[in-house]
């Protein structure tokens, strides 16, 4: 087991793609995961981490949520030796920008190649083609799998080639060419062109897909495509290799609060109370999956901030929790702090209520945006609590924590 402490931002503004990082890290044996909302970043809980991950979503909403304090804390984290990994929205976030609130995150001199004052002609009419970026537009010339190739600055013996899906991430031009670890090499039969192939090539091919920007003792990794997507194993391995490489280089910064000390505020629940919590989770996740599955038959989507949310995204959250429930159910006791215990029970119950409400609203052709916003907020709260519970128990079990051993014995 690797005891690196990795924080995954799962707060406001994120889409479901942070769940892919969860899958990736669990598969790689990184169980000491911390799930962060905007408050925990603003309150600098990130200072205890080795790696901070900010994945896809709505860059403006993420920046707004993290605010000035969040920006300063991220900067300080990296300066002191932390590794920042930003994918898609998380890659745009630390790039220099004059736009508010992104100007609180002006950390790296990397330019976006898919930024334009005049919008190219869309080949396919879709709401996913562009998003406004102040007076400009960030446009997305392609979606789905693209080909990447590493540069000599990643490995100078032989270049690696692999595919990864691009949904809304940037093409990048770095101020220092040595920062570019991989470029967009081309497209695949699965690439969907939203602009002409000519524009797509001009915007992406040869430009940075993975950029590493050194920043005092630490560094920023920016991923244009979603290398963490679970169907792209070689891209996944690139992330894991990078983490191992970086954290092996410099472990000099303060890690005194790592490891088991993180459980200092967590309590155990036993027997009937643990069984009841697990049954509540099973019951309400099941109720939510059922109604969420039913919503997928309906032609509906919601524009929340700058992002379009389809009903299918609800199930991505639910399934990521559901598939881990059986593992949790094997425990006779659970490590959970009292606040999280209350929060998880409330969130999972409210989620069923809100999903049933939105189904009735959609069935009756009523306005449903407000309910959708509530649902995605609840999904964030619930999944943060759930994964915190799940990985606390997995980590403690594997670290042979005496408390957990006592639970099992009881």
């Amino acid at each position: 087991m690797n005891s690196l402490k990795i924080g995954i931002y799962a707060g406001s503004g994120t889409s479901h793609s942070w769940l892919w990082f969860v899958d990736l890290f669990e598969k790689a044996g990184f169980y000491d995961l911390v799930f962060l909302d905007e408050a925990s970043v603003r309150n600098n809980h990130i200072k205890f981490l080795d790696v901070l991950v900010i994945s896809g979503g709505d860059t403006f909403a993420v920046a707004q949520s993290l605010g000035r304090e969040g920006g300063l804390n991220i900067k300080s984290f990296v300066e002191q030796g932390g590794v920042y990994m930003g994918s898609c929205a998380g890659a745009y976030l630390p790039m220099n920008s004059s736009k508010k609130p992104l100007d609180q995150f002006n950390f790296v001199d990397v330019k976006i190649t898919n930024l334009s004052k005049t919008l190219p002609v869309a080949e396919i009419s879709t709401c996913k083609f562009c998003t406004s970026y102040g007076c400009d537009f960030v446009f997305h010339p392609v979606r789905e799998a693209v080909r990447l190739k590493t540069t000599c600055f990643y490995r100078n013996d032989a270049a690696l080639e692999f595919a990864a899906p691009l949904y809304g991430g940037p093409g990048m031009k770095a101020a220092d060419p040595s920062w570019v670890l991989a470029v967009y090499e081309g497209f695949t039969p699965r690439t969907t062109f939203l602009a002409s192939q000519k524009i797509a090539r001009k915007t992406l091919v040869g430009n940075g897909a993975v950029v590493r920007v050194p920043f005092k003792k630490g560094c920023f990794y920016l991923f244009g495509p979603h290398l963490e997507h679970p169907k792209f194993e070689r891209a996944n391995q690139f992330i894991i290799d990078s983490i191992i490489l970086e954290t092996g280089k410099d472990k000099a910064y303060d890690k005194s609060d790592h490891g088991m000390k993180g459980f200092a505020n967590k309590h155990g629940i036993y027997g009937k109370q643990a069984r009841e919590l697990l049954l509540t989770l099973r019951r309400e996740l099941s109720n939510s999956r059922i109604v969420a599955g039913s919503l997928e038959f309906l032609p509906i989507h919601w524009l929340i901030g700058q992002k379009v949310y389809e009903p299918q995204k609800i199930r991505v959250y639910l399934e990521s929790m559901w598939k881990r429930l059986k593992t949790l159910e094997k425990n006779t006791g659970l490590i959970i702090d009292p606040e999280s215990y209350t929060r998880i029970k409330t969130a999972v119950g409210n989620l069923t209520i809100e999903l049933r409400r939105i189904k009735q609203q959609v069935d009756n052709h009523l306005e449903s945006l407000e309910t959708a916003i509530t649902i995605f907020d609840l999904l964030h709260v619930l999944s943060i609590c759930f994964f915190d519970l799940y990985f606390s128990n997995r980590f403690s079990e594997l670290a042979k924590d005496p408390e957990q051993a006592a639970f099992k014995a009881s």
Binding site: L279, R283, S286, I290, R356, K359
Partner: protein
Amino acid sequence: MEYLSTDKILVIDLNTAEVEEEELSEALVEEHIGGIGMTSYLYDKYKADDPIVIGTGLLAGTTYPASASAQITAKSPVTGKISHCPVIYKLGVEIKYSGFDYIVVKGSSPSPVYLWIHDGVADISDAADIWGKGVWESTDALRKFVGDDLLQTMMIGPAGENGSDYAQVCYNYWSSPDRFGFGKLFGAKNLKGFAFRGMGLIEVAEPEAYVERSLEILKQVKENGFLEKKGIAPILEALGHEGVAQWMGPVTHRHSADYFTPYATNTALFLDEDPGLLKESDNDEPGVIVSDILALVEFKNLGLSALDTGRVLKACAKYGIDPFAVARLCGKTSVEEITASFDAISGEIAIPGSGMFTPWCPTTPIFNDFDLSDSNEIMAWWERRQAVAMIFGIHPIFSLMCPELTEENMLELASLGTGLELTQETLDKVIDTIPG
């Protein structure tokens, strides 16, 4: 029991509102196989509590042809015998997918309840809002509440609540094979019914071999000429009821099959719209799905038109009453008189043979003669065929049509699916121990 199974037996005590789970062990499967082999065992185990036992066939919900069926085993409040009612349409397999192979309901609830079974969770829920309502209204209300139109229900209507001997447990909106008055039993327990929804998966011990053999058997089935036919009219004509197709023609809309069943054993009649309409209906449910072919014929014999027969069948399904009993016993000949007579009918409906299997299922082979001639031989064959179908979860009417579905290949698939050695000797023993 890891394979072809959810590994769980659910035991619900309505007296105390307690829910318990038991493990379905391999030893139990080796001894009782599944379906009514197991529900009979569970009935016997809990018989002091007058249980209702719901079970799924061992092969139900898989790629074995017509593996569509579950069963209700209980003591009929009308005949006093332990009886087995098939669960058909899409409901049979939904039970297994909802997380339990077997469900035992003990005792009576102090107030009306329904059981919401989903993804391995069983909730005893207050039925105050649906008690007193018809089957259709109740199903609609639960689907709306849960937020899923694919929710599968097993419900009683006013007939069951009022204690009618002819009360049926209905499936979704439709009449069922229940000729045992199980609807009355549900009502006496203050049990409005069940709602099932599951998104579970079933593991198979040897998946590739299982699918390969299933498809080979399906191919053999498809070579049998009867699969060129569709719907209930050809079945009735094969049973000697002439002119059904012409009589039903003006209102026949479509035919539908149960889960993975190669023959469409159900026919939809359109009552409130032109059955030739080639667009999505503007009405939520403009007709009625007919699986009870013998009830249909009884109404035809009373002189009703197919349109009026459809209207009466729809009314029976909403009220939760056995349409065959209504047709046979009401003594009326108009839609209005018949539907007004539901609470007043009386008389006896004979259950053939040992009384444990439903005469909703014709008591003769259909389309193929199975090399049978003598009537005693046919009745013995029918009872065994019903027992085997309900052990393995095979559609009971389809099993009467299809000689390619043999005990031998059901056992073969059961062994491939479970990884256990299930033999003809075991099957014979299980059949012998089924109470009747």
